[in-house]
Symmetry: C2
Subunit: 335 residues, 2 copies
């Protein structure tokens, strides 16, 4: 593999000139630049990022932290971020820290130390120690899924989105509304889901409708969890007429449970989800759509801007949500 020195020799110039020419830096005549480029191309030269990184201190890589890659939501956010980073010429180092062990190890060893120019944290709730540890890295930081001091933050109005969903049910005349939430707030949980819960209670309070505790279920943000939660709710002596699921995947699970019980949606029970999962459309699920890919992309952009400007100033962006009404709450299409 050709080195810069070989290219320099072949082109009859110094390594400094090659370096300048290839990086579009000023101070090289157009003729020389062309020649260097041609020679480099012919020799199939490619820069050693290690050497370049060592010399400059910049790596042109950004580290991306995600709890999972195997769930729809995270895959989408990651895809959005990846696209932006890639087209800016940055490489992406992926760290999946969903399990406690991997997470602990990651923050202990911090394998990305000195090997990324910036870090992007995707919908992963960090403890104070963890976020401090990242701040110590002294590189631009980005965060998706909430507000975070010292991080360029991108999030959606979860409370507003939740209100949208619940008010929609209320407007349909429902008063007996169940809720399927993600689960007990733990290290993985973000403010976001919690906001959606609060929205539920607030919207209910707005209409002075009491919340029935046995209609609140934990769905673990998974399809099967949603199904279990729905079954548990159905086991109550009273049956709700509507359900607000805090993620579409849980809503899908709930819908399956209802189908098993031969309960008609929306006739007997209406259901609304949250996310805008690709399958919500053909499932006929009403849902609060959030711009998932854009959340990742925007965070990446903020990071890049900070990187270019070398500033320490972080920015916050709130992205919009939108209620999409389908047959699971109105029944007026043919589903």
């Amino acid at each position: 593999m050709a080195t810069i020195e070989e290219v320099a020799r072949a082109a009859g110039v110094s390594t400094a000139t090659v370096s300048r020419a290839l990086r579009q830096q000023p101070g090289v005549s157009e003729r020389t630049r062309q020649r260097v480029r041609t020679v480099a191309e012919e020799m199939n030269y490619s820069i050693s990022r290690s050497a370049s990184g060592l010399a400059t201190g910049r790596t042109r890589r950004v580290g991306v932290l995600v709890p999972f890659v195997s769930r729809w939501f995270f895959g989408q956010v990651l895809a959005g971020a990846e696209e932006v980073l890639r087209s800016a010429g940055y490489d992406l180092m992926l760290y999946v820290v969903g399990d406690e062990e991997g997470r602990e190890r990651f923050f202990r060893e911090l394998p990305l130390r000195r090997s990324v120019d910036a870090v992007l944290v995707l919908t992963l709730s960090l403890s104070t120690e963890e976020s401090d540890r990242l701040r110590e890295l002294d590189v631009p930081l980005g965060f998706v899924g909430g507000r975070m001091d010292g991080f360029n933050s991108v999030w959606i109005d979860d409370h507003g989105g939740g209100m949208l969903a619940v008010r929609h049910l209320l407007n349909q005349g429902h008063t007996d509304i169940a809720m399927i939430h993600g689960g007990a707030p733990d290290a993985l949980n973000l403010p976001a889901p919690h906001e959606r819960c609060t929205a539920f209670r607030d919207a209910m309070a707005e209409h002075e409708i009491p919340v029935r505790e046995s209609w609140l279920g934990t769905g673990d943000f998974s399809v099967s969890g949603g199904r279990r939660a729905m079954n548990r709710i159905l086991a109550d002596e009273l049956r709700p007429t509507a359900v607000f699921a805090m993620s579409d995947e849980m809503a899908f699970g709930a819908m399956h449970a209802l189908r098993n019980h031969k309960i008609h949606v929306p006739g007997e029970i209406a259901i609304v989800g949250f996310d805008g999962h690709e399958m919500s459309e053909c499932s006929g699920l009403s849902t609060v759509v959030q711009p998932v890919r854009q959340e990742g992309g925007t965070a990446a952009k903020l990071l890049l801007e900070q990187l270019e400007q070398g500033s320490t100033e972080t920015r916050d962006v709130v992205l919009p949500t939108e209620l999409v009404v389908r047959s699971s709450t109105t029944g007026d299409d043919s589903m």
Copy 2:
């Protein structure tokens, strides 16, 4: 950020000793090793991978190529690979090359050249030029989704799996069987899907049942594509009594189409998918399960083995599939 030299000075030894001590190399007394470790820890030292990489030529990083991250299947395979790589102490550089533009750019610039120790290609069908380009990298190569010369390859018996599915339908007495395939073979398509098609024809031939061309639909491997394909098939003058979808996601789409048409599954039309998608269980979809995460994990392992041994010998592994029968073909659970 502390350098090795500062650590050396603080510990009262040479940089060489620090280097040896920290990398568990022989030739350092236990006392010294301990002291160095303590000092390094106190100073919050962490190695510069750039410097280390430059000196050794090894990066402890592996590049992973995927067409998408935002689809279930790819997310799973990636997750499997990531886990293995991480626990072996390798960092993962992610390259998403699903779109033609990004792909073209990737293979032209080969950003991972000189910055990874190995490359893993996940279910991405490579042209001859593309795979040659990777071979030129002269690092261990891995491939998931088919056999590939010069690559450690991991795949499943797609033909056998397809036979499993179709024979299952035939054994239920079906003769009027439709098929929803991924689409025209293009750059993204792998041998795998094609094998499943062949299996369909072979199984039908086995029973001397002619294939009705208007019952073959293109579903683009997506949920909505599966729905469209099913609708097109239903537009035929004759209606099949069973459908073989080459992915679960397309099967989901097809099931939704059937529901819209008020066609009972499996009573009027039975359906079997392929993959073992997490949602197949609660959808009651019969499917050919493949060990998705394991495919990624196994490929990563093969790669690591080759890396450790420094050998040039690649290995092939075929992973098993299994037919899981649910209500979409038998109707004997309560779905």
